[in-house]
């Protein structure tokens, strides 16, 4: 058969298995099942209702951010201020409501507005200057880290907020961010419900809407996307603001769970979010990945984080496992992407 007679590879029928194996999240799904089975067999507590509730909640707070970070990574950008944003919003609410007596609901809403403004600023600077988002958001990370320390100290005289649960309306707001849904023997905590909702919405947006197509397009090739009418500026701005909004949500979930906030809250967490997104199939080059994959990446993290404890192992090894998991995931994703014909 001559070169000219070769069939177009796009028209060649592929098996269901090949199609499934090309999905960006497949590696994370397989790994999650493996981790689940491993800890189920090696511990007595892991699959008890209380055990499931605990590792699901651990996964959820990481997962909400991981899903938002995944969307941004698919769109071709990073946000290294995502972790510290959780602390900024929690401290902001604590200071407004605790120190200045602002209504707690209003403080929570103002914190969301602040988060969206910071996200918009990140996006605007990246778009205006053409600088890598890695650098811009690294700068934001340091700015927010400094503000979290200096402003908290300046306004409250300390670097850790206490007595949050004494604020009027705390337990009312907690219904939204810290309540528990009892389903038989299972206690489903609020973060888990938020996690499911966020993952479902993100997956629907990516797979079923024009906005999702735009996200993949700007991450894959922004110039080409603009040429075919994609609103790249609006899309990228929305992605940065979504990540910041997710930071606000996780900040509120943590604040109303523990009832205290440290000036160092969230520092270093941004790397875990990126790890979960990459484990879930996101490419560092953009244009490829999935929200459901990031959710499974977070599940792997949460199961491992608590599974190590349930197994009675030294949990100093957790970070080592994370590094190995990241490297393995990147290699799997690279292999899958090559087969799928995605640029890496």
């Amino acid at each position: 058969m001559t070169e000219r007679e070769k069939p177009d590879e796009r028209a060649v029928a592929t098996s269901h298995l090949t199609t499934v194996m090309r999905r960006p999240e497949i590696g994370a799904v397989i790994a999650a099942v493996a981790v689940l089975v491993f800890f189920a067999l090696n511990t007595t507590t892991f699959l008890t209702p209380a055990g499931i509730s605990t590792w699901l909640e651990s996964s959820a707070t990481i997962g909400i951010m991981a899903v938002a970070v995944a969307l941004l990574m698919i769109g071709g950008h990073f946000d290294l201020s995502a972790g510290v944003m959780t602390g900024t919003t929690a401290l902001f609410v604590g200071i407004l409501a605790g120190t200045y007596g602002v209504n707690l609901w209003l403080a929570v809403i103002l914190a969301l507005v602040l988060a969206l403004a910071i996200g918009a600023a990140n996006g605007a600077i990246v778009l205006r200057t053409g600088l890598p988002s890695f650098i811009v958001t690294l700068a934001t990370f340091f700015i927010l880290q400094g503000i979290n320390l200096a402003v908290t100290k300046l306004l409250t005289g300390t670097v850790a907020l206490q007595g949050i649960d004494k604020i009027s309306g705390f337990f009312t707001v907690r219904q939204l961010f810290g309540s528990t849904l009892h389903l038989g023997p299972f206690a489903i905590k609020a973060p888990v419900i938020w996690f499911i909702v966020v993952t479902a919405i993100a997956t629907w947006v990516l797979q079923r809407t024009r906005v999702g197509n735009h996200i993949f397009a700007v991450g894959g090739d922004r110039s080409a996307a603009r040429a075919v009418g994609v609103r790249d500026i609006r899309t990228i701005m929305a992605l940065f603001m979504t990540t910041s909004a997710a930071g606000w949500l996780v900040g509120m979930l943590a604040l109303f769970k523990v009832g205290t906030a440290q000036a160092t809250t969230g520092v270093g967490q941004e790397f875990i979010y990126i790890i979960c997104a990459v484990v879930g199939g996101c490419m560092l080059t953009g244009g490829f990945g999935s929200a459901i994959g990031a959710a499974f990446g977070a599940l792997i993290y949460g199961m491992t984080y608590q599974g190590i404890v349930y197994a009675g192992w030294d949990n100093n090894w957790l970070k080592t496992f994370l590094g190995i998991m990241l490297l393995a995931a990147v290699l799997v994703n690279w292999s899958v992407a090559r087969r799928a014909g995605v640029r890496s």
Binding site: T45, S58, L127, L154, L155, V159, A261
Partner: protein, 342 residues
């Protein structure tokens, strides 16, 4: 490709308005009865007080610690030093770095600036030996604080203010032992922190029963709570939980309640939430190192040394603690704790 100018201006204007509006809510005024302490970063200087004070601002002392940014404990140490400097009419500079190599550079810088005295915490003594040696050679009096009680004499420091980290742990271990507990976890919230490892080792030493360390990350208190919950679920025989930070104590308390455990909870260091929990009987005790004294006393001692040649301590350590705070004595110190002076 850069954003079009007009769109960009609108976006930045909107963002600026939002940030402006939200920040004015908390920066316009200080509420009645509140003060606005200065600083909060890792480098600061407290200005001398009025001219009626003895030393009249002519002495400068450098405090160089191994604190990480935002550590509530060290924030109190720093406040103690600043208040003492204001009271004594001297200047205190504060710098910190958890990396011993960087900390030694900060000490060397202080020597180069010609300070009149140096206060240093020695979490990693070997890493600071050369820098402290230079200070002693230059006839600059050195006082060690918090960490380094075992080796301050060897390095030529005039005294040590603080307590052995191990002693703090031993005190906690004794409390658990006296309550008849048999299985303890010690929650380490900062990986690689020598002082925290020493506290746990001290607790294990006097506790007598089974003891193990649990590593968590203070940057994520929700995860701290979940990890302690998981540990208690995995091993219901754990009947003692030992924490090393006020916020971690609060998280551990919620974990114990969430896991339905009857474990006894005790910790090191106090804050307002821990005080309330002790009053309510939910936290059995807290070992208070009295960090304010660790900041205050060295400034007083150095001022007396350089102005009046007084050698306080007689070469022996000056213990700032430990004070065991329980339901029986918490009321006496609650006010001081709320003001950050303990």
């Amino acid at each position: 490709m850069p954003l079009e100018g007009e769109t960009m201006r609108k976006i930045l204007a909107a963002a600026a308005c939002v940030v402006g509006l939200t920040m004015t809510a908390c920066t316009n005024e200080v509420p009645a009865g509140k003060t606005t302490p200065s600083g909060g970063a890792d480098q600061s200087a407290s200005a001398p007080a009025g001219s009626d004070d003895k030393a009249d601002g002519k002495y400068t002392f450098a405090m160089v610690t191994h604190s990480s940014a935002g550590d509530a404990f060290w924030d109190i140490v720093k406040s103690g030093g600043e208040d003492a400097a204001a009271k004594m009419g001297v200047t205190m500079t504060y710098q910190a770095d958890p990396d011993p190599a960087q900390q030694s550079i900060l000490i060397t810088n202080a020597i180069a600036q010609g300070v009149d005295g140096i206060i240093v915490s020695m979490a990693n003594p070997d890493g600071l030996k050369e820098a402290i040696g230079k200070a002693v050679e230059a006839k600059i009096p050195v006082i060690t604080i918090n960490s380094g009680i075992e080796r301050y004499k060897e390095f030529g420091a005039m005294t040590h203010v603080g307590q052995s980290e191990e002693l703090a742990g031993e005190t906690a271990g004794e409390q658990f032992k006296a309550a008849g507990k048999s299985k303890m976890i010690c929650v380490i919230h900062e990986a690689g922190n020598i002082g925290q490892e020493q506290r746990c080792a001290g607790a294990a030493k006097t506790f007598g029963g089974s003891a193990e360390n649990l590593q968590v990350d203070i940057a994520d208190l929700a995860a701290v709570q979940n990890t302690v919950t998981a540990k208690l679920q995995a091993d219901p025989s754990i009947d003692a939980v030992f924490t090393l930070n006020g916020s971690v104590t609060t998280a551990a308390l919620k974990a114990i309640e969430g896991a339905g455990s009857e474990a006894m909870l005790g910790g090191i260091d106090l804050d307002a939430d821990v005080v309330t929990a002790i009053k309510d009987g939910k936290v059995s005790f807290a070992v208070d190192q009295q960090p304010y004294a660790q900041g205050w006393l060295p400034i007083v001692f150095l001022t007396q040394k350089v102005s009046d040649a007084m050698d306080t301590g007689g070469g022996q350590p000056v213990y700032s603690g430990p004070l065991v705070v329980t339901k029986d004595n918490v009321e006496q110190i609650a006010d001081a704790i709320s003001r950050g002076k303990h």
